[in-house]
Amino acid sequence: MPKLQQFNLPDLAEGLVDAEIIKWLVSPGDTVELNQPIVEVETAKALTEIPSPYAGEVKTLHHEEGTTVDVGQPLITIDTDPGGASGGDEPPAETGALIGEETADGRTAVLVGYGPKSVTAKRRPRKSTTAPLGEQVAAPVAVSAPAPPQPSPAPAPGSAPIPAAAPGGSVPVLAKPPVRKLAKDLGVDLTTLTGTGPNGSITRDDVQSAVSAPAATARPAVVSGGEERIPIKGVRKFTAENMVASAFTAPHVTEFLTLDVTETMAAVARLKTLPEFEGVKVSPLLLVAKALLLAARRHPMVNSSWDEAAGEIVVKHYVNLGIAAATPRGLLVPNIKNADSLGLRELAEALTELTVTAREGKTSPADMSGGTMTITNVGVFGVDTGTPILPPGESAILCFGAIRDTPWVHEGQVVPRKVTTLSLSFDHRIIDGELGSRFLADVGRFLADPGTLMLAWA
């Protein structure tokens, strides 16, 4: 007999309310072992893997990757007795309830002090029989299901959700005073709602989604009247904080340089044919990175940071080269440690590895800390240039634009050449216009004639 076991998202630390599904490590139909990692989730505290509490066959993954799931919501359903006879709607087996599930005696297993929400948010569901699994899974979809948005939605006929209070029951509806006020203002009858807060209490979100109620489950982005509200969190929040901190502490100056990089493109093409570079990706970005590293060696002050607390400028004699990367998780700036000590092939390998790691969403916090200078490659999007904001703690960022075939005066003739624009934002507290200009000009000199400058600066 198939035995379906549903596993709800637990509180992975102390008092977390939700987690984002980053990556499923199993698919429906897969066989899983006990404690085999099944999913990677990101909480406010950490990126972490969850091990399977059951051995068996994966039946259902309840959420897509990228979804934020509340603690207590179903995560995965596993058949712990696959190959048994039919009957997929068997109730879950009763061997030891998980937190948030009901035990055989009908009590909800809840960690003292942690109080994860259960989907149906029953208050003290003693003596009730365990609902068939199908019904439990359906519950989140059915929450506040009435189709047309109405100021005062009636409960869906025959629907699964259990109201926070039975009509005419002796237990009062649980809701905080500001929520009651909100419901009154919006004309929502609290007794018709299903509470998702602690102990089944009705929250502000419950009231608002009852008003705007189309498809119900869209918690991360509540749609109303053509606007979308996206909660600010995770990488987006982190990026915003960094940008604000940087933009309002370091006085930014940006300079531009448009130049002929035909020689750089030729060098890239030649490098690709060399046996020494077999198996690695050689790109214009590689030479831009090299140009930056060599120019930084000639102008060490560019590779420094402003230590307000100590009243000191910290000049770094190593370059941890940051590369701004657009990833599924958002903007990340992992860096290549001690990039200045790497040979060109090693640098190419490090760039490739960094990009692949970032795309896979596996960039670790260590990879992102300690950057000293950064390159942002907006050229890949076909854009000419920009005025980048410094990553906090760094004093220079180079922006690399698109390379275009452009009419250009070359040896007295107007001919088509490969032309790009570089821009450099720098912290004017440390770097004066002269130093910034000389540095940017040196990056440009290298890219205009990489062969010669490589020899000259080696």
Partner: protein, 388 residues
């Protein structure tokens, strides 16, 4: 129980001290007792040694494998929502098993919340602390019966309890012979910065209390590295308080056994306290609520992985032909069985009755508490029969 032979090294050998190979992570003259290198090579030390039978060597290995496996189950259970939190001992098996197996039956242990390995050496059912981590009891157990006090969450507080307890033993006249009692207080490098720990050093020293302070320096106080806590090696602090301090390779089960055995015997014979710094590394997170990748780099973790306490013991057993593959497989299977059994029983732990919170407030009861219990129970009963 296995006993190191503390009389092996005579005073004449003391002259050799300092010429011995210096400690692994040394800046300046740091001496670290080591009997088994990370490569599994058995080395000698002028002052410390163990004289063990093959069976005793195998038992130490078995202990470490089992506590590591049980610990992994604790972490998994937390990730599955069965525990509120778990404090992993991963990487610290040798420090805990070596010191735990050095204890005599009559000795008393004052643990932190991470001493699952020491608990195992006291022949206590490993499920005992799981109620605390599951949030269904307060971690109270009969510490007299188990000779193992409650897990202490407050950092360093147990060092004071241990010292007071040790002073009591002296007053009871229970020190001064082979059957004397001694106390061991566990804490970490972070606790070494606490006032409690330093105060307990003062009291233990001037009262010559039969206590051993066993510090597992796992390099981090949550996220704070030990270099931000101490500029001199921790074990040298004992000098200032007037009792001996020893640094031991905390990933070497033989060395921790030898050093702790000597220190406990000194204490039980009335020779006063010892501070042992077991130099080790927490391979996992501080607790399941922590993400160590945010404050330490993977290179550091890998460097310590090469010093793993279990694999070095296994290498030693293999090289000395003390154990073979069948034996190792058998131990792995046994550890797995212990873990599955633990899992099943943890999940089946019953929730406490709501009224249980009023139990044990006063040993002889109290009218006020009884009245509150009744009120609370009446309140709960008011929900009976209602649907929600």
């Amino acid at each position: 129980m296995v006993n190191g032979d503390q009389n092996r090294a005579g005073p004449k050998k003391k002259a050799a001290r300092g010429r011995k190979k210096p400690a692994a992570a040394a800046t300046g003259p740091v001496d670290m007792v080591q009997l088994l290198t990370p490569e599994g090579e058995r080395v000698s030390h002028p002052e410390y040694d163990v004289d063990l039978s093959d069976q005793q060597y195998r038992d130490l290995y078995r202990d470490m494998v089992i506590v590591r496996r049980l610990d992994a189950e604790g972490t998994a259970l937390q990730r599955q929502g069965q525990l509120g939190i778990w404090a992993s001992l991963l990487g610290q098996e040798a420090a805990q098993i070596g010191s735990g197996r050095a204890l005599a039956k009559q000795d008393m242990v004052f643990p932190t919340y991470r001493e699952h390995g020491v608990l195992w050496t006291r022949d206590i059912d490993p499920i005992m602390p799981f109620g605390l981590f599951r949030g269904i009891d307060l971690g109270g157990w009969d510490s007299r019966k188990y000779r193992f006090q409650m897990y202490t969450i407050v950092i360093g507080a147990q060092s004071l309890h241990a010292t007071g307890y040790a002073m009591g033993i002296t007053k009871d006249g229970k020190v001064g012979g082979d059957d004397g009692e001694a106390v061991i207080a566990y804490f970490g490098d972070g606790a070494s910065s606490q006032g409690d720990v330093n105060e307990s050093f003062v009291w233990a020293s001037v009262y010559n209390a039969p206590v051993v302070f066993f510090c597992q320096n796992n390099q981090y106080a949550i996220s704070e590295p030990v270099i931000r806590q101490a500029k001199a090696p921790l074990y040298k602090r004992a000098d200032g308080f007037g009792f001996p301090g020893v640094r031991v390779d905390g990933n070497d089960v033989l060395a921790t056994l030898a050093v702790t055995t000597r220190a406990m015997d000194n204490a039980r014979h009335g020779n006063g306290p010892t501070f042992i710094e077991a130099y080790t590394y927490r391979m996992g997170a501080h607790t399941t609520t922590d993400d160590p990748t945010r404050y330490r780099d993977s290179g550091e973790v890998e460097a310590w992985r090469a010093k793993d306490p279990v694999s070095r013991m296994r290498t030693f057993l293999e090289r000395q032909s003390i154990a073979d593959t069948d034996y190792f497989d058998g131990i792995d299977a046994e550890a797995q069985q212990h873990a599955l059994d633990l899992r099943e029983r943890v999940i089946a732990l019953p929730d406490p009755e709501p009224g249980a919170i009023f139990d044990h407030v006063y040993s002889g009861g109290s009218p006020l508490v009884e009245r509150e219990r009744e009120e609370f129970q009446a309140y709960h009963a008011s929900f009976e029969g209602s649907e929600h």
